[in-house]
Every structure is written in C-alpha cells, then in structure tokens.
C-alpha cells in the first residue's frame, strides 16, 4: 500500500461575522465568546451559497495548487454534516461540476471527523483507485450557519461554528520529484454509545452536550495521535506540526499539553474561522502548507473528533 498527499486547498465565504455581531444577538459580550472558545470571528455564507458551492471552490483551489486537472481524478469524497437534504448528498453535484461523469463520488456525512476519515480511507484505497482511474480528492465542506440560523440562536452553539471547505489530493504514487507527503498510518474509531451527544437532522436544531464533547475529545484526540505515533516509533516532539480539527482554541491547547508538545506545534486558525466542522482540518492544512513550499522537515499529524463519536489520527511524513 502506498499513498501520497499532493496538496491542499481551501475556500471560505467572504462575509465575516464578528463576536460583536453575535454578542448583540445573544445578549452576551464579545469577550465572553472569545473566552469560551478562543474564536474572534467566523465566516458565514449567504443564503444562495450551498455546501456543494463551497466544496467545488476548495476542490478547484486544491487542484490548482497541485497542478492537477480534474480529469485525473478517480474518486471524490465529500465529507459534510450540513448538507441540506438526505440524498443524494453533495458529492454527486461536486463531481459533476468538476466535469466527472464516471468516477465514484462518495458522501461522508459525519460532520467534524469526516475529512479525517476520508483521508484515512483514501490512504487505504489509493492503490486500487489509481489502478482503475486516478487520484482521490478528499473534501470537507460545511455550511454550519444554515443549522445555526434555522432556529433561535443558542449561545452554546451559535458562537462556535463557521462555514467553509477544505480539500486534499491523494494518489498512489508521487506526481513529481518536487516531493510529497507519504501517508504512513491511520487510526480511526467510533463509539456510537455517544451518538446523541452531538446531533442534527435537517429541519431540526443542532443539539450538543458540550460537557460530554469536551470530556471525550480531550482524551480521544491525544489517544488517537499517540496510537499512530507509537505504532510508527515517532515521538510527539519529532512532529513538525499537528493539523487538527479546529473545534475550540482551549481544546487545541489541551491536546498540546497532553501530548507534551509546545502550543506552537499545533496549528490554529479557529480564531478567524470558528469551528467549520469537517472542513476545518483541511482548511488548517491548506493554510499551514501555503507557507511551506516543500514537505518537511519532520512528519505531520492530522486528527479530528466529532459527532458519533467518531475520531482518529493520520500520520504523514515527507517522502
């Protein structure tokens, strides 16, 4: 089995929603919002923008950065928990808008851990997809504002979420001598006994037991990371960057502390985009990678946790 990461892409809608704007609607202060979440602002899409619109924009950004035409894709995965209808999910529309008419397009309707699961599955599928068609594009896209605005604003959730999309290109072999990230190992897990703790259904309100989510995430994210690092004999201190689901700044700091690494090792942009659910990890990866023209030095770790509960980690190393 071999799988390589060739690049990332991202898209966020232009409208900035500040803490001051939300605070006025929630009878809270901007300082309370930032203290509870670390978030200063987030992006919310307009009414006409769909999850597929966000996904296609991130996909095009990823393909452009990687220098790959969409015709080279053998599979598309779209992670999203905020699609507006049951079926078909956004993957079919995204594939069609990328000009694909036979490549399988798979929805991963898992919310926050969706793009991490997509990356782990792409790693395992890369060889067979390459043999039958081409590369795999993993996308995470969310319009969380549609969930937030569908019912009276709840201060516990409205302050957290934002809209956006991220993407990653995975293939079974390196595209060029410019270097790529080799996907080394993945650990993905689910414990469905907690499935009611964070949930949403179309037409309903987002429901979250924040105590349970933070309690479980604060254990399971470091545990999954430690699982892949131990299996590969890599110390946490050797990791160049941890590119994690951007749930909450306080949670990210806690993960760093548990792993025994400095907070600077954990890339954050939750301050500017809020929690964009399945999109956040790949948006973070795209921003982190944009400042680094070549892979390395040192391995990188992806990790996420979300509704289900689903969680996991993926280790990649410069090839």
């Amino acid at each position: 089995m071999s799988a390589y990461l060739h690049g990332f892409g991202a898209h966020v809608p232009p409208r900035v929603v500040t803490n001051a704007e939300l605070a006025a609607r929630l009878d809270r202060t901007p300082e309370w919002i930032e203290g509870a979440s670390g978030i200063r602002e987030r992006r919310w899409a307009d009414a006409e923008t769909s999850v597929a619109d966000l996904a296609v924009a991130a996909a095009e950004d990823c393909l452009a950065r990687a220098g790959v035409n969409a015709s080279a894709l053998g599979m598309v995965m779209v992670a999203s928990g905020s699609g507006s209808r049951g079926f078909p999910g956004p993957a079919a529309e995204v594939a069609a808008r990328l000009g694909l008419s036979t490549a399988p397009a798979i929805d991963v309707p898992m919310a926050s851990a969706g793009s991490l699961f997509g990356l782990a599955l792409a790693m395992r599928l890369a060889d067979s997809v390459q043999a039958s068609g081409g590369d795999i594009l993993v996308i995470g896209a969310e319009k969380m504002s549609a969930l937030i605005e569908a019912s009276p604003l709840d201060a516990n959730t409205a302050i957290l979420f934002g809209d956006g999309a991220g993407a990653a290109l995975v293939s079974a072999r390196p595209h060029s001598t410019a270097g790529a990230w080799r996907l080394v190992d993945a650990a993905i897990h689910t414990d469905g006994q907690f499935r009611e703790e964070l949930r949403w259904s179309p037409g309903g309100a987002l429901a979250m037991n924040g105590l349970s989510v933070i309690l479980q995430a604060s254990r399971k994210i470091p545990a999954a990371i430690s699982e892949v690092l131990a299996r590969q004999g890599v110390a946490a201190g050797e990791v160049a960057a941890f590119l994690l689901h951007q749930a909450n700044l306080n949670l990210l700091a806690r993960v760093a502390k548990t792993l025994g690494v400095g907070p600077e090792k954990v890339f954050t942009n939750v301050e500017r985009y809020g929690n964009t659910s399945s999109a956040s990890m790949l948006i973070a990866a795209a921003e982190w990678a944009a400042a680094r023209p070549a892979p390395g030095p040192g391995p990188i770790v992806f990790a996420a946790f979300g509704a289900g509960f689903h969680w996991g980690a993926v280790l990649a190393a410069p090839d």
Binding site: G210, L211, I214, L215, R219, K220, R254
Partner: protein, 84 residues
C-alpha cells in the same frame, strides 16, 4: 481494594472539586457543579484526571459521562462503586 469510609471518600472528592475550581464546593453535595457555574466544560477533564490520580483508578472512556460527575454526591456514588 481501597478501604476508606464513605465520609473520607466524599471529603476527598470535595477537596478535589475545590482544587480544580479554585473555589469552595457547594454546601449541598447534591448541587450541580456545572449548573452552579463552579466548573465549566474544560474543568471537567481536569477533575476527572485529579480523581484518577488521587484514588488510583483509571476511569474508562465509556464511563466518562458528565452526569456521573455532575455533583459531589454523584461522583461519590460512581467512585464508591468503582472501589467496592
């Protein structure tokens, strides 16, 4: 097996709550530590970690239900059962 009285166990749990919260625990052991605002979601993992260390027990993820740690009385019930 740890041998301690119910009163000792509850006193240790109250002390751990106060250590994590940095404030006195409610006089009523049945009062919710979260609804009262004494603890927030990020204090809960600290409290669980402190209980594990103090009592020498590993609380499995499957038992990490916030309702088990909502009050001193509920924590006492859970830890008492674990140590029995």
């Amino acid at each position: 097996m740890v041998n301690m009285s119910d009163a000792t166990r509850r006193a240790r749990l109250r002390a751990l709550v106060e250590k994590v919260a940095g404030k006195p625990a409610p006089a009523d052991d049945d009062e919710s530590l979260f609804e009262s605002g004494l603890l927030d979601s990020f204090a809960l993992p600290d409290l669980v970690g402190a209980i594990e260390e103090d009592f020498g027990v590993k609380i499995p993820d499957a038992d990490l239900n916030p309702r088990k740690f909502d009050s001193v009385a509920r924590m006492d019930e859970y830890i008492g059962a674990r140590l029995a």
